[in-house]
């Protein structure tokens, strides 16, 4: 093996730790338990760290403190009834979860959405992405000592909440989509609101960038900390900004376009070193791209229907249910027995703020899934912690956790 290859191989923390391991194996070890209730674990993650002085020599990540049995519950209800549970997976971006789930069911049913529904869903996904990244950003900055950021980002999130409330009636448990479309059409004034928000948001983003990009404390605590190499990231199945921060440009919206994402003009930001700072920078840039997509979507919003028309399986419009016999019967059957899905199995992955949220649906026919597996991006992203943390000091832990930006509701399901 030539020398050059060796330097390349030890470029990332994982390899460096492995090399350092014999040196770390001296002295007395301290076992430190962090969580499940700790401010820097963003929920109920538990870490058991073995320390040699300040340096972590071994990490054991314990998840499952928010395991609520979503997959079991799904087997006991109809396809549409499960939509509210998807809200509570990644509770920072419920709209995007709704969209991913119903797209998966629609793939199983073999539906093609009308254009208006597709563009509406794109707006939903991108609003959710901005909102989730904002919270991730605020919490990350707070973890490394910048409290103000959190208040700034929440102000922007409240503006998004207002829009979502206008659209769905709830601040974040939206349950907006149904198999074959949405619960309702866009309310008047919504598109103008999105446009207005997008236009002012770019300026705010610049402001946020200025607060952190050149902040010595922030940069010192994130640069070259938690370096994940591109191959390691892919091997562990990382997705979303965590994978892209490591220099891999995999984005489901580009690789396997859905909802007409191929017709939008946007770029996929990619990091270089794969450290905490790169992941932060990727998220900042992704928000800019989301705003770009939002403006395009608002400009091209087509008219026409916003539900697939398939009376046997899709909820008919309410005004017809109240006046027509046929629709009333169909509505009763669809609500009580669920939309009749064909037997078969599909996997559908969508690019959510945290990464690729996938649904594996196994149907035996009828209105109830035989097995519904949620491929949660946070779960896969956290899998790397056991190998990533050793070699870092305890003070790096909040920065690494904040930059991985996980949601336990989704991780544990």
């Amino acid at each position: 093996m030539s020398t050059a290859t060796t330097t390349m191989e030890f470029g990332d923390t994982l390899a460096r730790t492995a090399e350092m391991a014999p040196q770390l194996d001296v002295g007395e070890k301290l076992v430190l338990n962090i969580g499940p209730s700790h401010p820097s674990t963003h929920g109920v993650l538990r870490l058991v760290l073995e320390l040699d002085g300040e340096v972590i020599t071994k990490a054991d990540t314990d998840v499952g403190y928010l395991h609520r049995g979503d997959e079991k519950i799904a087997e006991n209800m109809t396809w549409n009834q499960f939509v509210p549970y998807t809200d509570r997976l990644d509770y920072l971006a419920p709209l995007a979860n709704n969209v991913a789930y119903t797209c998966a069911v629609e793939k199983l049913m073999g539906y093609d959405l009308p254009p208006r529904a597709k563009v509406t869903r794109v707006i939903c996904c991108e609003l959710a992405r901005i909102s989730a990244h904002l919270l991730g950003l605020g919490a990350f900055a707070m973890d490394v000592g910048a409290m103000t950021m959190f208040l700034y980002t929440f102000t922007e999130r409240e503006k998004i909440y207002n829009l979502i409330e206008l659209l769905t009636g709830a601040r974040f448990t939206t349950s907006f989509t149904r198999v074959g479309g949405q619960t309702r059409d866009l309310p008047p004034g919504f598109l103008d609101g999105v446009k207005e928000f997008s236009e002012q948001f770019m300026g705010k983003l610049d402001e946020f960038g200025k607060m952190l990009n050149r902040n010595r404390i922030f940069v010192d605590r994130t640069k070259d900390i938690g370096v994940i190499s591109s191959t390691a990231a892919l091997d562990f199945g990382l997705t979303g900004p965590n994978l892209r921060g490591s220099g891999n440009d995999y984005d489901v919206r580009k690789y396997f376009p859905y909802l007409g994402y191929e017709t939008y003009d946007f770029e996929v930001p990619v990091g270089q070193t794969g450290d905490c700072y790169d992941r932060f920078a990727v998220r900042m840039e992704e928000m800019r791209q989301s705003v770009k997509i939002l403006l395009q979507a608002v400009a091209k919003m087509p008219g026409g229907p916003w539900m697939v028309s398939d009376p046997k399986s899709i909820l008919p419009p309410k005004d017809k249910v109240l006046t027509k016999m046929e629709e009333l019967i169909h509505q009763f059957i669809v609500v009580t027995q669920g939309p009749d899905a064909p037997p078969g199995e599909v996997y559908f992955g969508a690019e959510n703020p945290k990464g690729e949220l996938g649904f594996y649906l196994n149907s035996r026919g009828g209105g109830v899934p035989h097995r519904l597996k949620i491929r949660a991006p946070s779960f896969c992203n956290l899998g790397i912690l056991n190998t990533l943390l050793p070699g870092h000091t305890v003070s790096d832990v909040p920065a690494i956790l904040g930059s991985i930006d996980f949601v336990m509701g989704e991780c544990d399901r």
Partner: protein, 189 residues
């Protein structure tokens, strides 16, 4: 390629059963003895990204469990699903040696459905607590749970959603007729 290797790869291809395509998705089925061999070959072919591992309980069928691997080739932008079957108590070989990310997925499959993975470095429960006696995603496990060693807090009672979806049943009074979830045993009456 040596003759033995060519032989073994031809043999491997023969062992793979290609399932009918559904919604544009390709699925292969492979006997579990050849799983690791096939996965290693697939990774070499470009399937570098292991998307997900799912265990399915097909109670009443033989063999009972099905383990589903969702793979993705990022350069040619293709998905592939590989399935293998295992009876109760039979271990499936672990693919941790192929993808590191398989570690947690296999732990979850063991925790939730109770499929054992042979050769897994650290097969512990991941979502439920250590020492939990059941595998919740098995079909014979009720939604409301079964008694455990935490009797004070982990009690069981009838779950309102058990046996869903919401169904109507003929009854003289409207409050009994209205659609609601009925427990499975009540529905079969």
């Amino acid at each position: 390629m040596s003759e033995a290797a060519a032989d073994s790869s031809a043999d491997l291809v023969a062992a793979v059963k290609i399932l009918p395509e559904f919604r544009g998705e390709t699925s292969w089925e492979v006997p579990k003895e050849r799983l690791v061999e096939l996965m290693t070959a697939l990774k070499k072919e470009g399937m570098t990204y292991l998307v997900d591992i799912t265990a399915v309980d097909n109670q009443g069928e033989d063999p009972r469990f099905e383990v589903v691997y969702e793979l993705c080739d990022l350069s040619s932008r293709k998905h592939l699903r590989v399935k293998t079957r295992a009876a109760e108590g039979e271990p499936v070989p672990s693919v941790c040696s192929v993808w590191k990310g398989a570690d947690w997925h296999e732990r979850e499959a063991w925790d939730m459905v109770g499929v054992k993975f042979s050769g897994h470095p650290d097969l512990r429960r991941i979502l439920m607590w250590d020492g939990y006696p059941h595998h919740p995603l098995r079909k014979d496990f009720p939604l409301e749970g079964l008694p455990t060693e935490m009797p004070d807090i982990a009690f069981t009672a009838k779950a309102p959603l058990e046996g869903g979806p919401f169904v109507t049943s003929p009854a003289p009074f409207s409050h009994e007729r209205e659609p609601r979830a009925h427990p499975a045993e009540e529905r079969s009456l």
